[in-house]
């Protein structure tokens, strides 16, 4: 009974409810958003029905361009940091005993599920003058007096990496745990040093998952909204912050929708790219 074709209309019944729910509450909202992006904004009121390309024309402004470049820059930076740290880390935990793996996974999932509000709050404390790590450095004699590092560029970077790191590890976990354990062993038997084995065999055979992870983490960090808002100054705002600001505080829903549509196309293109990259599989999976 598994894998056959449904016979008769009645067998289709179970899918009716999920289908209706997903179309009504996901496809239609998307449709409305795309439609609104063509509407004309009325200051003071909501918007009027229209077909207006102005919202899209307004995307080519200096502010939007600057925010876009900054978002791409900081997300790319975080993606590189997270994969550079996350790849060896994931490799180590996949070589651990199962029990130790579960403990690490529980920690990672717990951190990943933490609200960005809480993460931003925790980092603002950690980088603050009264409760921050600079106090620890003063105590160790490394610094003269405690300072505040938040808000600032590095505070945003830290916060984003903190959120993206567990995500990176969870994306890298399946390909790394599927890696044949005899492969590194064989390399070492043939005389390669552990470091050389890691870089040439482990990294080398997982090149395409690494690239795919870089893109996934990049899209993920592009989506973070609260971290730049709380840990950064207005010049550290990303596209996500700009969209929310436009929609809620300036109540310019049409323009926010146009930005979101643009943002969605960029993200979809990138996700599509990961699928293309993922098709070129490493030798261990052949």
């Amino acid at each position: 009974m598994i894998g056959d074709k449904p016979k008769g209309l009645r067998t289709h019944l179970p899918i009716l409810y999920p289908g209706v729910m997903l179309v009504a509450f996901f496809v239609i909202p998307f449709g409305i958003m795309v439609t609104v992006s063509f509407f004309h904004r009325v200051p003071g009121a909501f918007y009027t029905t229209d077909f207006d390309l102005n919202n899209y024309r307004n995307l080519f402004t200096a502010l939007f361009g600057r925010v876009l470049v900054f978002s791409i820059f900081i997300s790319a930076l975080c993606a590189v940091i997270c994969v550079a740290l996350g790849f060896p880390f994931t490799y180590f935990i996949t070589r651990m005993r199962r029990k130790a793996q579960v403990v690490w996974l529980v920690i990672l999932v717990s951190v990943l599920s933490l609200s960005a509000v809480i993460v931003a709050f925790a980092w603002s404390l950690l980088l603050s003058q009264t409760a921050g790590i600079s106090n620890l450095f003063v105590w160790l004699g490394l610094m003269e007096q405690p300072v505040s590092w938040s808000p600032g560029f590095w505070a945003v970077t830290c916060g984003m990496c903190y959120i993206a790191f567990p995500y990176t590890v969870l994306v890298l976990y399946p390909p790394l745990s599927r890696l044949d354990p005899y492969l590194p062993e064989a390399a070492q038997t043939l005389g390669a040093s552990p470091v050389k084995t890691f870089f040439s065999v482990v990294v080398g055979s997982l090149r395409s998952p690494i690239v795919a992870t870089l893109i996934m983490v990049f899209v993920f960090t592009l989506g973070t909204y609260l971290i730049p808002q709380i840990l950064g100054r207005p010049q550290h705002w990303t596209l996500s912050v700009l969209i929310t600001d436009e929609a809620i505080y300036r109540s310019n829903l049409p323009f926010a929708a146009a930005m979101a549509v643009f943002f969605m196309l960029v993200s979809l293109a990138l996700v599509g790219l990961t699928m293309v990259v993922g098709k070129g599989k490493g030798p261990e999976q052949r």
Partner: protein
Amino acid sequence: MNRALRRLFLAFILIFLMSPIVVVGGVSLNEKKSLFFPPQGLSLAWYVELFTESAWMIPVENSLIIATLSSLVAISIALPLAYFLWRYRILYARVLFMLGISPFILPPVITALGFLAFWATVGLYGQMVATIISHAIFFVTLPLVTISLGFESIEREIIEAAQTMGADSKVVFRTVIFPMVRSYMVSGFAFCFVLSLNEYIVAYMVSGFTVETLPIKIFNALRYGYTPVMACVSVAFVLLAALIFGLIGRFGDLPRLMGALAPESRK
């Protein structure tokens, strides 16, 4: 790689992951309304305030109601869809599955804005129902993936055996299939529940001004003056997440679930 170096690296990651939590935990114990670390004077008064002051109790209640109901709705969508997809190979069910997964891949602001436009049009903007349904759709990916995994773990022979013994498909579902996917439903529910509790942007866009959830409350508190209660909420959330995922890790198959949740293995 060198053993000592590996230990050092792992310790560094652990410190990186834990230090914000340690600082928040310390700050929550301050005696006065200040955020010092190490705390000045030890007191649990702020935890008492979290569960007695209505300013915090209402968001606690809102968050718990929304998380529970939205997870139930998400399961109700995911179970039949995962079942159908496992039983019949048919194109439009795959399309629906992709739809169910996309809120998780796209940047959350986009989905949130779609919900905002939708609820404003329908006229339910600012209602709790809007938040509940939005969260259910936003997080449906998690039960969808875990429950699908549960169906895949069922061996054909067992079902064939049940059919040979004369069970029709309803009986097979009730007595064989359902009990086997139940634990996967529980983990799907747990993931959904924890993430809904912690979610900010969708809840904020859909009804942030009227239905205050805990993350929204913390965010507002960040703007209008810090209080150690925020640290208490954070500690409670960390403990709750650790407890729930610890239970899944203890009784479930966390490495397998993680293998499936990552996009790499989405076929």
